[in-house]
Symmetry: C2
Subunit: 418 residues, 2 copies
């Protein structure tokens, strides 16, 4: 059997879990830690492939749930897969579709799961509220909906037309197989951050059974005659919510399975996300990559890397940019602020992105105040460039044995109270 | 005095008014006939400067009315003018702001002009309805409003906040002077296509007096200490509506004035636009360029060139593209049509635009159906490339003494009933 995926650690942060490495895929090597730009519907809002190439992300994440509805996995398969469809020829990952099925699926029938009765919103949505992180779902501005969870999978209604659908671990694998990304995720249950211990325990047990079914189906699909033979890697997802013992239990169970890497999903308390990530990564096998799902705030990126995270993804940089929020080395600014009307300097001095090389704050202020699309595009280009390169610079600081100094300098400037 | 503008005719269509030439400006030579891409607010919706450069229009048109409100001509002057503000370093033209003041300005006061009582919508709006052409105003989806026309100018209300404003010929020149385009337009009155002969006559007389005031003010401004000394050319505008004798009268009056070129504005009947353009261009001096305002439909471009037009502008290619309408050599298609869901060919075979070189109909169909911004951007890029290059190819056919064959072949395919 050809081995298409290989994770190599180049350097560790002395005495910590963090490491710099690389993960080889059929569409190129990913230098880790790496930030995956999110293109929910196989497009980063408004950006052409050349603009994305100039940002130079190591990997691109697309959402299975949305692509299942439109244009549908069959059309993407006919196009030759997501790479040919979107023209992004670097590595691509797809999520399992589960999170959106839970959070966007409207309730139906009598037998509503506990998750639907919970009053607090869904896992990552709540997480985002506290952490400033973000996820594709939040972007749609849709709060929690009801979905029916059974041993078989998740029954839900389309967010578009209310039609009934069923996602099972097998179905998720079949869709992702057809979408044709390099890295896929196992089907898991996202619980509410306020879920009781009992429910959370029940949910991770189910998630573990679904992980087994996901892996079995994945292996079967990778051997199909029309497959490209093991050119897709499956990552298992660790859950457990805010409960340390459940996180550990989940990491042990998932970590022992034959996945090519791991996702850390679900919800955390703001104040001990670092601890939760650390206890999980202490258990997960060192020789496989780990993805902290849906996190992209600068301080959380440092926290994640320090505690052994290799991949991140988040829609916050693009969504925030479209609403005027701009990352700069001196913290976040709102480009729509009137004080930038006559500021003819770039968004961030010394930034090498297309927006900063070509345009002024005054012009982008004008575009955003006038709701001109180019204003959101330039802000998106800048913010993605900022975050992608921040993670690349964090990686370099590990190689240079300089991580903690870089962290202190960067965060000191970024979060400095003026 | 330095002569910054020079029109040179390279070749004429034998026995017709049409010609291929060039118009030199401080920001480069414009090969004519040329299609000006419209960036109402100093941006072509969603396109970066590099994307515009790849389309390679000869000239760019921005709207004075919109820029007067936001960000304001003072800020653009401080930025160094429209070229520095927008980063478009080729030739730029601005309109006078009059058309939008009439059509977007809400009525106030007692003394409402005849134009406001007219029941038929404003000149170019109505023209667009019949001819498939377009204008920046129509793009905003706002139908006619009332404005008060006096000898002094036009009093109107802001389309944004209802505040009162006054445009006079002098004010229009002062704003355009500060915006800093290469080609400016005199302040004129756009009448309704259904205006009575009496009103139309009254209006062109006023337009002629305003033309004198515009030219005087322009000359004064070009001599100012802080000006770049005659680096802006002023075009006068011929009006006259549907009345041939008034068109002729206006062409005679305006044509004798010391303008660097001419605009043909206002309304026509669909069936005799060609005749109206011809009678005007027979009178206007041959050695100066002529701009047919707000026209961009393929058949009208051929008609205009044949009858001596050197410049066109129109927002239709971008607006139509954002709604799914795509120019192809075989006519217009709607890319949102379900039949393109699995069509993995480019929008138009053999087209050299960025969208056609990189993307399939299926992908753009997906983006547009999902209301993803990139779908509109790719369609805009394609349509602008199509129209800009159509006019370039028309120019080449004149140089090759091949105009009528090219016209017949092109229009035969484009308007062929399938």
């Amino acid at each position: 059997m050809v081995k298409n995926f290989y994770f190599k650690i180049e350097k560790k942060i002395d005495g910590f879990l963090g490491r710099a490495g690389s993960f080889s895929t059929p569409h190129g090597d990913i230098q880790t830690p790496a930030f995956a730009t999110v293109g929910t519907k196989a497009t980063i809002k408004g950006l052409t492939i050349d603009q994305i190439k100039e940002i130079n992300p190591e990997i691109f994440l697309a959402n299975t749930y949305h692509l299942y509805f439109n244009p549908g996995e069959e059309i993407i398969k006919k196009a030759g897969g997501l790479h040919d469809f979107s023209q992004w020829n670097g590595p691509i990952m797809t999520d399992s579709g589960g999170f959106q099925a839970f959070s966007l699926g409207a309730a139906f029938g009598e037998n509503i799961s506990k998750i639907a009765k919970d009053d607090s919103g869904f896992s990552q949505i709540a997480l985002n509220k506290t952490k400033g992180g973000d996820c594709a779902t939040c972007e749609l501005g849709i709060d929690k909906r009801l979905a029916k969870i059974t041993e078989n999978g998740v029954e839900f209604r389309s967010y578009k037309d209310g039609s009934k659908h069923l996602f099972t671990p097998e179905k998720s694998m079949q869709i992702q197989y057809k979408l044709g990304a390099d890295i896929l995720f196992a089907f898991d249950e996202c619980t509410s951050p306020q879920a009781t211990y009992e429910y959370q325990k029940e949910a991770i047990d189910r998630t573990h059974r679904w992980a087994v079914r996901s892996l079995n189906e994945h292996k079967k699909l990778q051997k199909l005659k029309d497959s490209k033979k093991n050119n897709q890697a499956l990552f298992g997802i660790v859950q457990g919510g805010r409960y340390e013992d459940l996180r550990k239990e989940s990491a042990k169970f998932i970590g022992k399975m034959d996945f090519e890497g791991f996702g850390i999903g679900g919800s955390f308390d703001k104040d001990d996300m670092d601890k939760a990530v650390r206890v999980v990564n202490e258990i997960l096998p060192e020789n496989k990559p780990r993805h902290l799902l849906g996190i992209g705030e600068p301080m959380d990126l440092f926290m994640g890397v320090e505690n052994g995270v290799d991949f991140f993804d988040c829609v916050a940089p693009s969504r925030m940019g479209r609403h005027g929020g701009i990352h700069t080395k001196n913290g976040r600014i709102n480009i729509k602020n009137a004080k930038y009307k006559e500021d003819f300097s770039p968004l961030d001095e010394d930034c090498g992105c297309y927006a900063c090389k070509n345009y002024t704050k005054a012009y982008i202020n004008h575009l955003q105040r006038e709701k001109e699309v180019l204003g959101g595009i330039l802000a998106t280009i800048h913010n993605l460039y900022f975050v992608v390169n921040l993670v690349k610079n964090i990686r370099q600081s590990i190689l240079d044995e300089n991580f903690f100094k870089f962290k202190k300098d960067f965060l000191g400037k970024y979060y400095k109270k003026n």
